[in-house]
């Protein structure tokens, strides 16, 4: 009993239980609609893992949402709800595209410049929310939503500017190649490269057929870094104190207003980094007219909650979410079941994560129960 209680209290247990529940609910819905759940799940997993290029695409798709997930998780640790991740992502994409098209710099310069610019743009967009909250007490949800929409229309405006609009397309010109963060783009096309790759078929498939890039490495690195900052540094201590108890933090001399601002700056920068990775890492390396939100930011919310707010957890949650999003297409193609079953499944997983407090309470009760029996 004691052991069960201990296991139940670990955060990862909640996540695993939630995932299992997600599959269960999806299975029920599929069965009720006349599809074979096993076939559908089989298609899902094969769509994720069956071929090396699938795995690569999962990693590529996961990178931006790991970062937006980190963004949301970081803000949540300081009791802020960063629903503006979407807008921060968009402004970063705008800035990266604008600079990436215009600046004629070699890769060793352009890449850091673009990364920095994107993070700055996202940081400012997030910082605005923090500033308005700290200075005027305006609810961060409403300013975030407003800024999301402002970013959205700003993006479409930029796309349609004659200076940037690519004729006969719905998007801008792509950024210069020196801004790409692809993996060895030139080598893989060179004769030596082609020769070397022909000897390792899976590598060739991954490098030639997918946009394999450094994004995933950036994402993993940031997750570890964020974790370190949150739990091992004085700044992280300060931000978490504010997140847990603003009054006590203020009483202890912490400048709460500044902390909220800093938190949103960092959070915004992380979402901005997601925008960088998306533009610099994958085709078409530009921004196009949006009919609706692409949801990279909003998906970050789900990733953060599935991860239980843990930075390192965001890596796995992001991979899961990205994998399901990508593999979901196969479900439709192979089995005919609507790919939206994935959304239902992800939504259910997040829902059960919301209930995870119950699991912790249940664990406490089990532990007490065993203690009483022992007496």
């Amino acid at each position: 009993m004691r052991l069960t209680a201990k296991i139940l209290k670990k955060p990862i247990t909640s996540a695993l239980i939630a995932i299992v529940c997600g599959f269960l609910v999806a299975a029920v819905v599929l069965a009720a609609a006349g599809y074979n759940p096993w076939q559908a799940f089989g298609a899902l997993f094969s769509g994720m893992f069956a071929r090396p290029k699938y795995i690569s695409n999962v990693l590529i798709k996961a990178a931006p949402i790991i970062l937006t997930g980190l963004s949301v998780a970081f803000a949540y640790k300081t009791s802020l709800f960063n629903i503006g991740a979407e807008g921060q992502y968009i402004v970063s994409a705008i800035v990266v595209t604008l600079l990436g098209v215009r600046l004629n710099l070699p890769a060793p310069l352009l890449i850091p410049v673009l990364l920095a610019a994107g993070m700055l743009a996202g940081g400012i967009w997030g910082g605005l929310v923090g500033l308005l909250k700290a200075k005027y007490g305006i609810h961060e949800v409403i300013t975030s939503i407003m800024l999301n929409w402002i970013a959205f229309y700003l993006s479409n405006y930029i796309v349609n500017l004659p200076a940037f609009h690519q004729p006969d397309s719905t998007g801008t010109y792509p950024i210069r190649e020196s801004g790409y963060i692809m993996l060895l783009p030139n080598w893989k096309r060179s004769p030596q490269g082609m020769a070397a790759l022909s000897r390792i078929p899976w590598l060739r498939e991954v490098m030639m057929r997918t946009d394999v890039n450094f994004g995933i490495l950036i994402a993993v690195y940031m997750a570890v870094l964020v974790g370190f900052v949150l739990y091992r540094t004085a700044k992280g201590f300060e931000l978490r104190a504010v997140g847990f108890n603003r009054d006590a933090a203020q009483f202890a001399g912490i400048d709460v207003g500044r902390s909220l601002l800093e938190s949103m700056l960092i959070s915004g920068a992380l979402s901005g980094l997601a925008g960088c990775v998306a533009i610099m890492g994958a085709a078409p390396h530009n921004i196009s007219t949006l009919a609706a939100f692409e949801n990279n930011g909003f998906n970050g919310l789900s990733v953060a909650f599935i991860a239980g707010g843990s930075p390192v957890g965001c890596i796995f949650a992001g991979l899961l979410f990205g994998g399901f999003l990508y593999g979901g297409q196969t479900v439709q193609a192979d089995v005919g079941a609507p790919s939206e079953i994935i959304n239902i499944m992800m939504g259910t997983i997040v829902f059960f994560m919301a209930l995870s407090k119950l699991i912790s309470t249940l664990a406490d009760r089990l532990a007490k129960g065993s203690a009483l029996h022992a007496e």
Binding site: Y136, I138, I145, A291, L355
Partner: protein, 307 residues
């Protein structure tokens, strides 16, 4: 001139209707102390249900009711999570924003031969003066959609109930000080369940205002952000029905402006125009509203005897 003015009015009311229903749903839920971020998802499933029922029965009013029912069912999940399980209401709301559209599109594909768009409906919700056979453009513009009337009616009704009846007093007490309400024998659980369910019903109605009136079919982008604008309207309107109504009208008006002015004599690009309501909201917030004060126990699960 009058033509444009009346067109502006007409479109304002048309676009603001879905927002108003969504926002009233938000007010209802949050006044009782339950944060509802999932309005978007409830509007979405309502939008689909309304379209589907209307398409297959030919009756838009049945569709409207079905939309409310669908929204309410989704809200039931939120109620169970937030009230009974005392879960994190923010996360639960986000989950519903995934589950709602998920089911909506899933069923759409099933009922409409694998397409993610429904077929257009034949009979949409009527206008207040019915089918006005007139060539007069002004008169035609003033023939508002019935959704505008319904929206106003619900706003007034909600305002009256909240401030002039005993149920409204109890709902507000549950949102401000559930322990006090509990100590006087009011069932916090029952009140909160009811309010969350109603918020889903209203949001569902709002979704169907979109698909049974404005675009007359369900598409994946039918509801893209209206639920969040409704949420902003709740905060902007300081959690009052009349405030939320006003805020929604403002947003609807701005959207109408982009339609009427866009591509016209003004050289302002349509995207900048579209941005205006949101920039305006932030400015107004800075200048006037400032500290938004939610119901005191909004978002905090109620536990008997908790210290």
């Amino acid at each position: 001139m009058l033509n444009n003015l009346t067109l502006l009015i007409s479109i304002t009311f048309m676009y603001s209707a879905p927002l108003i229903f969504g926002a009233l749903g938000g007010v209802t839920s949050e006044r009782a102390g339950v944060v509802n971020i999932g309005i978007e998802g409830m509007m979405n499933i309502g939008a689909f249900a309304g379209t589907a029922v209307c398409y297959f029965t030919g009756n838009p009013w049945l569709g409207f009711l079905a939309a409310g029912l669908a929204g309410g069912l989704l809200a039931l999940l939120h109620a169970v999570a937030a009230v009974t399980c005392r879960a994190d209401q923010t996360i639960s709301g986000i989950a519903l924003n995934l589950i709602g559209p998920g089911f909506a599109l899933f069923f759409c594909r099933m009922f409409f031969e694998g397409a993610t768009m429904s077929k257009p409906i034949a009979n949409k919700l009527p206008k207040i003066f019915g089918n006005l056979a007139t060539q007069n453009a002004v008169a035609k513009n003033l023939n508002l959609d019935i959704t505008a009337v319904l929206a106003v009616a619900l706003t007034v009704l909600l305002w009256f109930v909240l401030y002039k009846t005993k149920w409204g007093l109890r709902i507000r007490s549950v949102g401000e000080h559930p322990a006090a309400a509990d100590s006087l024998g009011i069932s916090v659980t029952r009140v909160r369940y009811l309010c969350v369910l109603l918020s889903g019903v209203f949001a569902g109605f709002g979704g169907s205002c979109m698909t049974l009136d404005i675009i007359t079919q369900y598409t994946p982008t039918a509801i893209s952000g209206q639920g969040f604008i409704a949420l902003a309207a709740v905060i902007f309107g300081k959690w009052t029905p009349q405030g939320a109504y006003g805020a929604c009208l403002l947003f609807g008006f701005a959207q109408a402006l982009t339609v009427v002015l866009g591509g016209g004599k003004f050289a302002v690009p349509s995207e900048i125009l579209a941005m205006l309501p949101y920039v305006l909201t932030i400015l107004v917030l800075i200048l006037f509203v400032g500290r938004a004060v939610a119901p005191k126990e909004d978002g905090i699960p109620y536990e008997k005897g908790a210290r």
